[in-house]
Amino acid sequence: MEIVFALAIGVMAGSGIYLLLRPRTFQVIMGLSLLSYAVNLFIFGMGRLRSGAAPVLDATRGADAALYADPVPQALVLTAIVIGFAVTALLLVVLLAARGLSGTDHVDGREPERE
């Protein structure tokens, strides 16, 4: 399981970083989106992987921390997901506005000179 989880992080991060290095704004947005999936999974993984141990207390099992998955990374990632959404929205609008102003969707705000 761990190896698949790790590879999933790697593939998504790699694709995301590749897209971040592209010249068009839409590619950058998609890249950011993929990279945030990868980073969220990575942070989440820091609490180790456990199945069937959701951190919702069960009266019959008690409040022993060993019985539940680590809630702290989960709380962190939850806020990260929502903030990630906000950042994507802001970026999208900034890029749209930049495109309207500069007439191009190149990240530098102008088309590169062809060598």
Binding site: Y18, F26, G45, V72
Partner: protein, 959 residues
């Protein structure tokens, strides 16, 4: 407490002055005068205490854990300086009231003037070195603002910038020196430092400390080789020159040297650095002052020269010289401020300060002339005036200096030469301005100014005469307290008498007076040229400009060489550096796989990520030409992520991820149509370079991805660390009153974080809204998309409200979606309410409702929705934030800290058993804010289509 009041009053006055109307000259002057006078009165009233107790202290704890207190300390020396600052401030305020023209915006002037006064008092009265440096910087800044007061003049801006650059750099050096000094002494408290003198002088860092502190002091006091800024600072209004640049701020440097004299002085390095700089300034600036054409230029160079004299005295390593230095600080302030005021009066009444044009003013303004003559005589060192006394002490010190042979001869000669210069430039100034034939072509006809403008000058001149005639009576005891404070019990005995008999110093004085008169009569009086002979080529300003230009161009060149203006290249560098740095760390830390046995692989999970990974790769592949496909694939990757969260016991995350995924997809789809067409067929020429670039990027991206994967695997195969998780799990029910630990952390334990987060979300939504209000789409994306065009056809004009209703095949989903809205509301409330004990919560609930609303828009069309459903996302955001804040503040009523949860459990007659918690209120706030923010963003983007339609109709473009 009085100590704090002295510093506090000017700052308070400054705040008041800043808010008065621009033309309230009288009110401003009264306010500033009152603040200054009150500070003066308090200072004067403290003298008996200072004289009796030696040192007054006031400690206000600020950050005691770091050893940082607000510490004020007044001894005799600080008292003398504080009196100088406050008293001179009062006089200059009176003067400035009549000097400033009604057209000048006086609030700015008096406000910064008072800030300066407070900062200068802070420097003088600080008992803590770092605190003193902070006030020191504040004097530099306020001086900058005051020099640039008439900022429409280029020279004022240049002068201000030069002064700030030089004194600011010096301040930085001083900060470094003070940090070292405090480190050696074992504390930054002035008393600690003063007591640690032997350690400091023996320490190997002593030369560094000395050099850094000397840099600070010499730049501030405009000493050679940093003297060049002071003449350029003369473009400030004359009251500023009189106050900051002759009487007080430039004295901060010598103040510091005197303050630290017991700690740092007494070594050869001190003698050469401080004494050398002082001697150079004394002679050189005296020489330059003889050839200036501007009245204030003469005074500026003479100020540098006199400060050089004080610095030289301090550098002599003799206690009597220190006494002379302190005495001369006070004397110089009185006669030089008075002369500056005279120069300002001449400028004010005639419209010029040019020595070549001014002449014979003593007939038109006899009172001004008389005052200026006496002050200039004091500056020249004429007997029976205060300047004579301290200069005599200086001459005596040079004669009795305990140094090797050539220095014993050289120093008195140099001192006499400087005396000659001083007499010559004083004579030249007075003779050119006030005597000779009356000037003809002055901008204004000269006449005597109002008496209030003369009063400050007259008071200062009176002080010059009184000190000069009966020194022991007027200043003797205060001077003794001041020097006693620096030197301690072993202060030497000295006599302040006017007459010491015929001796070498007296002879030197007469040589200086005679030589100066001769020099003036023989050369200067007849000289018409406006240049400086011999030293024309040595120009500090030129050097400063060249250095500054070299620095700027060098920085630009380095930036060009080291970085790229292209964002792609910068991004690549960031990732390459991160990757390289991480790889470098692998070896020393020996990061390998952990020992934990991996869990057995579930084929379903492997399949899930086969699809998920393929989706991610497909996004990277398709994002350039097939945006829609890329969005769909990204959704696939998101779904796989969401399912992974479910798999590994994170239901809350899965829910949030899923809802966010929906909203993000809708958002991007809405934005898609505003992007330019990108088509494989019209792609630029391919070739080796783009392919090479792509391969390089793939290499870096692949490396980063693999690294991250390896890192994740290395962590996952190691045993978990307990960390803080057990606390949250154990306390969730007893303290948070909830079973869902993640939700309890979010809304209770870390509620403040969440509060900040939803605030950010609200800000982002408002930013999106604001950005889109001014949105101007590119012209080619203005026309209706092909799909919409085909659906509606050209036949149906889309201008009437009725036509906006969905038609044809869209009617069915429109009805269904209408039914969905109340259901969605119910579901979202269900998730909100159960969030505390089961997966769900405000975030998830809010996103669900927002999705339902946006569905209405998608299917029903904007017009249809907005004519029936009134959603005010801005209100939702505001109310959400207020609710969350109210839930937090409510804790205060129970006497608990912000955001502590309060619960009530009981039974109501009809409802039955009930558990109410402030946490629910908080989560409701989160819910409402999320709904508001999400719909605001989505609707704002969606509205762009409508607006561009209006735009089209307005321009008559029917397509």
């Amino acid at each position: 407490m009085e100590l704090a009041l002295i510093i506090f009053l000017p700052f308070l006055g400054s705040l008041g002055a800043a808010f008065l109307p621009p033309n309230a000259r009288n009110a401003e002057a009264w306010l500033a005068g009152a603040a200054a006078l009150a500070a003066t009165a308090i200072t004067v009233s403290l003298y008996p205490q200072v004289a009796a107790e030696g040192v007054l202290r006031l400690n206000l704890p600020w950050a005691p854990a770091l050893g940082l207190d607000i510490s004020l300390r007044m001894d005799g020396f600080a008292w003398l300086f504080a009196l100088l600052v406050t008293g001179m401030g009062t006089l200059v305020v009176i003067y400035a009231r009549y000097y400033m023209s009604p057209a000048d915006p006086v609030p700015r002037f008096f406000s910064f003037f008072l800030v300066f006064m407070g900062a200068m008092l802070g420097v003088v009265l600080s008992g803590h070195l770092i605190q003193m440096v902070m006030f020191w910087e504040m004097t530099s800044l306020s001086s900058f603002m005051l020099i640039a007061y008439w900022h429409h003049r280029g020279e004022a801006r240049r002068g201000a910038r030069m002064a700030l650059t030089v004194t600011g750099a010096g301040g930085l050096a001083l900060f470094g020196g003070v940090l070292l000094l405090g480190h050696i002494a074992g504390g930054y408290d002035l008393d600690t430092v003063l007591a640690a003198a032997p350690q400091v002088k023996a320490h190997p860092w002593y030369p560094a400390v000395l050099a850094l502190i000397a840099l600070g002091a010499l730049t501030k006091s405009a000493q050679f080789p940093f003297h060049f800024w002071l003449p350029h600072a003369m473009s400030a209004p004359t009251p500023v020159s009189a106050y900051l640049h002759s009487a007080t701020m430039v004295k901060a440097g010598v103040f510091l040297l005197a303050r630290l004299w017991p700690v740092l002085a007494g070594t050869d390095a001190w003698f050469w650095i401080i004494g050398g700089a002082g001697l150079c300034s004394l002679v050189l600036a005296g020489y330059l002052a003889m050839f200036q054409q501007d009245m204030k230029g003469v005074l500026a160079y003479s100020t540098i020269s006199h400060l050089g004299l004080i610095t030289l005295l301090l550098g002599m390593n003799s206690e009597l010289a220190l006494v002379a230095a302190v005495f001369h600080i006070a004397n110089h302030a009185t006669f030089k401020a008075s002369l500056f005021m005279a120069a300002g009066i001449v400028d004010h009444e005639t419209g010029t300060r040019d020595l070549g044009r001014l002449s014979g003013l003593s007939r038109a303004m006899p009172l001004t002339a008389a005052l200026a003559v006496v002050a200039a005589a004091a500056m020249a060192g004429v007997p029976l005036l205060n300047g004579f006394l301290s200069k005599e002490m200086f001459f005596a010190e040079t004669v009795f200096l305990d140094r090797p042979d050539w220095q014993r001869f050289g120093l008195p000669l140099a001192a006499t030469l400087a005396g000659v210069f001083s007499v010559a430039y004083s004579l030249r100034l007075i003779q050119r301005v006030f005597f000779g034939p009356p000037a003809q072509d002055l901008p204004h006809t000269p006449h005597e100014p109002t008496r209030w403008m003369l009063l400050p000058s007259a008071l200062l001149v009176a002080a010059c005469v009184l000190v000069g005639v009966v020194p022991e009576l007027v200043i003797g005891p205060y001077l003794r307290t001041a020097t006693g404070a620096i030197l301690g019990a072993d202060a030497p005995a000295y006599s302040l008498a006017v007459w010491h008999g015929f001796n070498t110093p007296l002879l030197m004085s007469f040589v200086a007076l005679g030589g100066g008169a001769l020099l003036h009569g023989a050369l200067l009086a007849r000289r018409g040229a406006t240049t400086v002979p011999l030293l024309e080529s040595i120009d500090g300003r030129h050097l400063f400009d060249v250095t500054l230009t070299a620095l700027t161009t060098g920085a630009e060149r380095a930036l060009r060489r080291l970085s790229s203006p292209r964002l792609q290249m910068q991004m690549l560098l960031i990732f390459a550096v991160a990757l390289g740095g991480a790889l470098l760390l692998v070896k020393p830390f020996g990061i390998g796989w952990g020992a934990n046995a991996p869990q057995p692989l579930d084929p379903a999970f492997a399949l899930l990520w086969l699809v998920g990974g393929a989706c991610a790769l497909a996004v990277a592949w398709q994002a350039k030409y097939h945006r829609f496909a890329a969005v769909a694939f990204a959704g696939g990757a998101g779904l796989a992520t969401s399912l992974t969260f479910v798999w590994f016991s994170a239901p809350d995350l899965a829910l949030t991820q899923l809802t966010v995924e929906v909203v993000t997809t809708v958002l991007i789809l809405l934005g898609l149509r505003w992007l330019p067409r990108r088509d494989e067929r019209i792609a630029g020429p391919g070739g080796a370079t783009p392919r090479l670039r792509r391969s390089r990027d793939i290499l870096v991206a692949g490396g980063c991805g693999l690294g991250l994967a390896a890192l994740a695997y290395a962590v996952l195969t190691r045993p978990a660390v307990d960390g803080i998780a057990p606390f949250f799990v154990q306390q969730a029910l007893p303290q948070g009153g909830g079973l869902n630990v993640v939700n309890v952390i979010l809304v209770d334990f870390r509620g403040f974080d969440t509060f900040g987060e939803i605030t950010v979300l609200g800000i982002v939504a408002l930013t999106v809204y604001a950005l889109l209000r001014r949105f101007r789409p590119a012209p080619e994306s203005m026309r209706l998309p092909d799909q919409q065009h085909e659906q509606d056809g050209d036949a149906s004009p889309r201008d009437s409200q009725e036509a906006m209703l969905p038609a044809g095949a869209m009617m069915l989903p429109a009805v269904l979606v209408r039914l969905l809205l109340p259901l969605a509301l119910l579901v979202s409330l269900f998730f909100l309410l159960r969030g505390h004990n089961a997966p769900g919560g405000g975030f998830v609930g809010g996103l669900i409702l927002a999705t339902a609303v946006i569905l209405q828009y998608l299917v029903g069309g904007t017009h249809w929705v907005e004519s029936r459903l009134r959603i005010h996302p801005l209100y939702w955001i505001a109310i959400g934030l207020l609710l969350a804040a109210a839930a937090g503040i409510g804790a205060a009523f129970a006497g608990a800290p912000f955001l502590t949860s309060q619960a009530w459990h009981g039974t109501l007659p009809v409802v039955g058993e009930l558990h109410l918690s402030s946490v629910l209120l908080f989560d409701l706030g989160v819910y409402m804010l999320v709904v508001g923010a999400t719909t605001l963003m989505l609707v704002a983007i969606a509205h762009q289509s409508l607006r561009s339609q209006h735009h089209r109709t307005a321009t008559g473009d029917t397509r």
